[in-house]
Symmetry: D3
Subunit: 134 residues, 6 copies
């Protein structure tokens, strides 16, 4: 039950429609998923967030698109974001993730969450060998 009424394409103003059109063209889909309809309640946020997603998750750069989706999913699982887990699982499957890769991903996410708390729980000091450049 969203906090604000979702904005459908038919009722959107030109500023919102331009973003919706770009989302559909970029992703080669013919529908808009709910998060963009919610962000459209506040058009500057819609434009700002979409431009970021397009830049960060798009092609180019050193990390391939599937790896980026897996990293995104790992964060979303750690943050317990139901919407994001479902939407980025769908996106990752389109880019090649299958059940076995999903199983390995969740295995790493779960292990990291465990060892994070071991290191925090014991308040372990960083070894000098691991220190960065400054």
């Amino acid at each position: 039950m969203a906090l604000a009424k979702l904005v459908e394409y038919a009722e959107a103003g030109p500023e919102v429609r331009a973003v919706f059109d770009d989302i559909m063209a970029t992703r080669k889909v013919d529908w808009i998923n709910n998060i963009w309809k919610a962000l459209a309640v506040h058009p500057p946020t819609l434009a700002r967030v979409w431009s970021q997603v397009k830049e960060v998750m798009g092609p180019g750069g050193r990390l391939d698109p599937l790896t980026k989706e897996l990293i995104y999913l790992a964060v979303s699982m750690t943050n317990n974001c139901e919407y994001c887990i479902h939407s980025h699982t769908a996106a990752a499957r389109k880019k090649g993730m299958d059940d076995e890769i999903l199983g390995e991903l969740i295995g790493v996410v779960a292990l990291a969450n465990q060892t994070n708390r071991l290191a925090i729980g014991y308040q372990i000091d960083v070894d000098p060998q691991f220190k960065g450049p400054q």
Copy 2:
């Protein structure tokens, strides 16, 4: 300042030494980093955690070792684990991560943390198109 006195190799019993030896052999290093010395305070935990790390992060499987390290780092950054961020940055650099990949990784982690809160903040319902198999 760790909560318990770290266990050094010289003072460790045979159960702990066996794990320390396996860590050094598996990783081809000649020293033990602090988290293992802390876990050695409770030997069953040391053995259990190491066997998992060896299985989950080791070779084999569909995800390559660098990708696993990047996922691990993404979780550790989201959980704010200083020790883990430093130790796994070092591990990822050994497996090929450079400043540019690190920059892209942090970009995805930061974006996901932002959009996670947008989806949660608006309490957006999952689109039926994203629903899983059951």
Copy 3:
């Protein structure tokens, strides 16, 4: 599906009824929302939590009631508390929040969640200029 049976006014003892009455009088409403019915399972917790909410969120002090609700909402969104997001959105709307303010609030919350992870991800040292008084 709550973990314990909610306590309704009709079945409550005098200790719980006194708190319920004070909640309704303070808020000028004629019903009790679910969190208080759940806390009533353990009456000392009900009384302790209500007295805090009344003191912290009530009038007086330097922050106005709407600002306090927005801060409350920002925390609840960051913590992913579905119940709290819905109940405090309702409270904030009663105090003047509309969709535009909600959009700006979520924009700040999402940005902060992003930059928090940038600062944590890079493990950035605090500039001496930002250090506090001690």
Copy 4:
């Protein structure tokens, strides 16, 4: 480096001193630890928080004092609160925790953090058998 100047006993007003005196009398110690000196910057918060800690963590009730400290520590480790981990480890040691119990505690905390993300990662539905009373 605290955000505000800590309030020392010698410079405190009577409202703050009364709380400081009660903390020392209740805990049978002759010094005040930093969190109370920081909360004293805002005396109503000092009084409110201390009264809660005294009520929740004090004797009486069904959970014994050591169990309460272990639960407190488990939350503090999960939330990565350095101050709280150190202060409640000290408190738990005074109530009987030794390195072995600490090791078991951290083992459970770490396991729970792992399985929490497995359940969240796969978005597993709650079995009907586990549903509560309402």
Copy 5:
């Protein structure tokens, strides 16, 4: 709505069935709850996680089984894991937790979450008296 199709006993291979059988025998129940059916999608993860849960949460050690469940619940509540809260509440009730103990547990969890943010919010330095052994 789980991300992957749950594996039922009837369709499971021998590796998965062996774990399912051990879960039912260890717990003296005749059914398998959903988390194990989901982990069975990736059999090595199923075996690894079950062996840990069996070792960490089983009898033996210094902490009694109910205390371990309460610690587990405290972490799950802090992490907002709906599945885990329900499944471990059921487990804790089988080991003796009633509504009053649950109320005290939630009281400690909530207090710790509050004071954690007070200490973090003010960025309070750890008192030298609380420092650990190294």
Copy 6:
């Protein structure tokens, strides 16, 4: 100890200098704080993050600048971001926050963190009266 070498103005390329110049002009300061020097390791991230911060935290809109800073601080305290807590406390003090407002802010943040866990801990259903527009 940052993960990458901070980029100083003197060694920065024109793309980075342009952002640094805009930060100093916008904020009317003559120095660059560490987070921007770290983001400059990956210039597209520096430009993207700064443009967002400038848009979201700048003047205009319905929320005044101090309120935005308080919301930002509330999130940073909940996420335990040491760098962000210090930098945004400094920013908020420049915009009028004093110790008393800080005390009230932390009081609300701590209360919300407590009640969030009460609602999550008991798994309380949202009252129909609080449901949003869709």
